[in-house]
Symmetry: C2
Subunit: 333 residues, 2 copies
Amino acid sequence: MHNFIRLTLISTALLIAASAVASDSLPSWNDSGAKQAFLAFVEQVTDPSQSTFVPESDRLAVFDNDGTLWPECPMPFELAFTMDEAKRLADAQPELARDPVIQAAINRDFETLFAGEKHDGFLKLMALTHAGISADEFKRRVNAWWETAKHPEYKERFRELAYQPMREVIAYLRSHGFKIAIVSGGGMDFMRVFAGPLYGVEPEWVLGSSADVTLEMEDGKPVVKKQSSGLSINDHEGKTKRIYNHLGRRPIAAFGNSDGDRSMMEYTTIDNPYPSFAMYIHHTDPDREYAYDSRPPFSGKLTTGLEAAKQHGWSVVDMKRDWNKVFSKPITK
Amino acid sequence: MHNFIRLTLISTALLIAASAVASDSLPSWNDSGAKQAFLAFVEQVTDPSQSTFVPESDRLAVFDNDGTLWPECPMPFELAFTMDEAKRLADAQPELARDPVIQAAINRDFETLFAGEKHDGFLKLMALTHAGISADEFKRRVNAWWETAKHPEYKERFRELAYQPMREVIAYLRSHGFKIAIVSGGGMDFMRVFAGPLYGVEPEWVLGSSADVTLEMEDGKPVVKKQSSGLSINDHEGKTKRIYNHLGRRPIAAFGNSDGDRSMMEYTTIDNPYPSFAMYIHHTDPDREYAYDSRPPFSGKLTTGLEAAKQHGWSVVDMKRDWNKVFSKPITK
């Protein structure tokens, strides 16, 4: 055989083999445009022979959490935790049970909780369940809840509800030298409890909403205490600013599911000296998951984000079409 | 030879060999108590056969920067940058040259700059040199300065003045699975420019003083801009709170040189479920470096810290006695 033909055949075989390996790394994805765009991006930035190559230290990917890595319906999981905590606290402290905010939480009376422009009731509930205790105690409470609490519609533990296709994306990026950060509107301390076991993301890489902490010496021992003051919601432009402050570099890949993720996607893709990639998860599957662009009052809205996706060429995942599997095991509502 | 004796001899030989390897990793350290305490700690937490073993993911070491990883006399390097920037700005913008604060900086008139309880002059100088510009532009300016600027007394570029013994400590910890974070009173954005080249510490792991940033769209491009509002000084208890917020876990080793580092050392060592270690660098070498516990107005004070070191059994490095070398090459004042 002519050497050139032999080489071409070998190269082609290698390319097919490489592509099969890549496909096998994302088994929960159908072979759609979204998957192909993602694989092409990763190849582009990791192939040292291409001018689009990005050094490993600059490969940062950021992920929203609620609605991007796991469901956010019928309410974000942290809100479910908050409701369960209200009940637990009321059982333990009868004087608290009489508090109208705790009562509203127990009765799932969201109208009362979210009344008024500033949602005073909800903020008070957050203070009662997320502040006034040590950071260690809060972690213990989240851990205890996390062990057993179940999703109200899937009737399965929340901890089983991470999207399998997104876990595959994280693993694929990580195996290609990417740093992975979670940049979510959820509470930083809440997410740090399970980001390790669920996604292999260590606490340093979890950016979320937060409030003040104080440092107190109790019996000569330093104790970090959670406060309700200084609340900083990590959403919209706040996500971009927090990425800058916390991580100190620009991501080259961003994944989200709502308008609140648009700013960090713009920061990732517009005027970035490196090749970049952004992907929206679009909730289009009413049977296996949920179908919505907005489900007041709790879900993220996806309206201007879809427009921006068209404008900037971001990928949009059609969950129903693009994912052959939603969770790691068969879980149905 | 009896098998038991043979085994003992082999073990002893191995121990001596291991200790020689360890010593070789810290060649700029004399064989003093401080070095021995440090090596013993690392062995204790990395030997899986011991009950004191700490899993790799929980091995976090935090380092102050000014006075701990490089000198802080006659003034912190960032203050030298600020003075040089004032001169550069005055040359470029004659209208700025008339500003009394810029004039004070050019004339090294620290009395004017630091007058008043709130140091208004200095704050204004910081705003002029550190804010109102994009984060990218600030980075460019620091980088340009960093390439050539020289220390006023060593007459050597600042970039050559990292303490060689501390670089060895960082390398030794890193080779033993430790994560390394810099937790300094210096500006976060300033330090992130050189923490990589000097210490191999990526920007995510550099915690420092910071102020607000804004996100602005300029010609459709997202630009992060540095502001002078919202200044947060990373010192004393602020260091501990920032470690909690940014890193989400407790260090098991802390290195500092002033009372401002005491809080993070307490957080590291008091009531930590893991074995822990803290080390003060004591400036005792007037010839090769500086000798001081306090050099107003710029250096850190080391007074209550030395008391705390005694109380808690922290190591104290006598720079003159314990380091056989201060910098990587011979540099003298």
